[in-house]
Amino acid sequence: MSRNLEFEIFRYNPQEKDSVPHMQKFILDETVNMTLFIALNRLREEQDPGLIFDFCCRAGICGACAMVVNGRPRLACQTKTKDLPDKITLLPLPVFKLIGDLSVDTGVWFREMYQSTESWIHTKKVFDPKAQEERMDNDVAEQIYELERCIECGCCVSACGTARMRDDFLGAAALNRIARFVVDPRDQRSDKDYFEIIGNDEGIFGCMGLLACEDVCPKNLPLQNQLGFLRRKMGITAIKEIFGK
């Protein structure tokens, strides 16, 4: 224990006139059970109050603190310094717009994603406050929840080869979102409806299958399976379209 950690941190504040993008070095003594949450807060409170980064729940539940840690997108709050070498390089996530230093704008990106995937239950049924709830098989409920665990940290998007090359690619988070509604019996959209949203190069057919998304997902979502599942489903839908069923 008692290492001196050397942090190389990306610095750039677009709102500051003289600011230019550069890497800055910080030295910090390591303490027991230190996470990057503890380390970055100490750096800000003790060394540079201007340092910009995001944390919210600090417990791996909300996804606010994703950044590139020694080359790999991950949640800073659940990264223990003892699992890292003496030298730690921190960069903001690519793909998303930079707000300053390690902070990026995931909010706007995901909001646009909700709109493009129409991320809500599509149903003609009207809620009746006097009626008993509609029944659902518990296994189905658990299957839906399994896909709804996404915390929108943006790790999968920033690790995605296609997303890095084209701005309009929906990315694994959006495809997983669609998969969540596909398995939900309450959503009355047909495969053809889903095809309208993701049956193109911006969607399921743009994926190069590099699968970094699944490698870096901090919630271990089955992104690979969902991509395969949707691609087959959409492929079949496309063929049906061509041959008129």
Partner: protein, 617 residues
Amino acid sequence: MQTYYSDLLVIGAGLAGERVAVESAQKGFDVICLSIVPARRSHSSAAQGGMQAALGNCAKGEGDNCDIHFGDTVRGSDWGCDQEVARLFADNAPIEMRRLAHWGVPWNRVVPGKSFYFKGGEKFEKVEKEENEGLITARSFGGTAKWRTCYTSDGTGHAVMCTMDNRCAELGINVFDRKEAISLIHDGDTCMGAVVRCLRTGELEVYLSKATAICTGGFGRIYKATTNAVICDGGGHIIAHETGVVPIGNPESIQFHPTGIVPTDILVTEGCRGDGGTLLDVNEERFMNIYEPEKAELASRDVVSRWMTHHMRQGKGVKSAYGEHLWLDIRHLGDKHISTKLREVDEICHHFLGIDPRKQLIPVRPTQHYTMAGIRTNKDGAVYGLKGLFSAGEAACWDMHGFNRLGGNSLAETVVAGGIIGGKIVEFLEGYETRFKTSVVSEAVKKQQERIDNLISGRNGTENVYAVRAELQEALMKGCFVFRNGPDLEECVETLKGVLEKSRKVGLVSSGAGANFELGSALKLEGQVRLGLCIATGALNRTESRGSHNREDFPARNDRDWLNRTLAYWPEGADEPDLKYEETTPYFELPPGDRGYGGGSIIEADKTEIEAKTIKR
């Protein structure tokens, strides 16, 4: 200066805020939600356990109804709640859970047949009925007579938050993230909106609205050890309180959760104990069954936190580099249960402690968790003192929790209260027109710009933001934690008065430009110290023990003198709060009595007075 206009401005886009917004948007009103973080990162999403609603679908919830839920809530509050509000809540909770199911929440459902559950470390069998297959099921939580807590694995808050935010997207509600309200715009009578700092650019913006709702959650971050997210820093309370006309209700009423992990204070869910986990001491022996033979680990949170602290004081705590703690044992629940029903707990143990809860014990200690204290509203969610201002959720003192909140009642409150208060806001907006006085607006903006300039230039002084905040946090940990007493509280008040002085002399070290965090912290520092002073002063004055407020020098619950609610005002320019009191409830449906757990004596209120206020339903 960018100015936005809407019928309803909702400050805070967690579950309460978005539920309020949905209600107005459904009726065709124009709504803007502001949030410091993307809405789904709101602290609502961190709630693991579930939402209480008396559906009575599962075997152990059979025979449950709204009356029993109401009774549990009132008893849980230690008769500190408004019973009219508790009734509204209990009656509406089942409808709201079903509505959430309709909107897309994947609630866990009843699976018919035989299954096992644990209670107090022992294994029991239960049989779910065929005819209830597929209905919303429930789990057990502390302080409840029936299994009533609806859940989706241990990600209930997250799942409901996703659904609610989807609903907002569907309705086209503008949810602006990275926006922080730093002051209300008001003329002393009517609220007209807020001055907002954009957390992308640092620029000030104006939001004008006919109605404004503050739904910003709790303020646990003024304590050093808290389970709260870093955004739960009292921002909403502060802007309401500093108007001088809005009181904080029951500031001394702060809940401590029995199982924050050591050292990071991340919460592991009450579901651990609900599902049969036990608390062990340094000798790895159970102790809650000694103090509370009936409920043991499942007594209410204030009771468990107190007995844990008591047990550690008896020398039974586990010593560590971070102070003493106890153990939470869920090893006997088995791999399958831990991997599915308690997965978040499993992940927390792995990521933040580096342990496997199947084989190892979890270090825990009581930690600040919930603020029953809040912006005082009436039963319609209308804030005392300012027309057009509303509040819902943890930010508000509505007040269904009184002096102690039951697990599963807070997450349920966000949506149930959000629905009810959202409906009342709709009633308010219908046919309501107002005028915005430009002089009031420009004065409010000028004042905030001056504050910012002074902080950046260091004109007021050079006190360090983080150092002053640490003094506040430590003073509260020392004087206003699980146990309280006169001398410690007096010392705490004195210390905080000194901290208040310092907070007025803060100057920034950094430039304050753009998304600067130091500036954001500095802007709310004095308000945070004021909240701390309200807690300490309120606690010093309240010479009794009720729910989470526990005075060692006044161990009895004193209904004769203290069956009331504290209202802490902060008049403009004052150095201390002005405390007033009001009756806890307009009537009793359940007259004050024994809670059935927690021990302690009761100094009874005048019988004829209670009888006169008691109604039959």
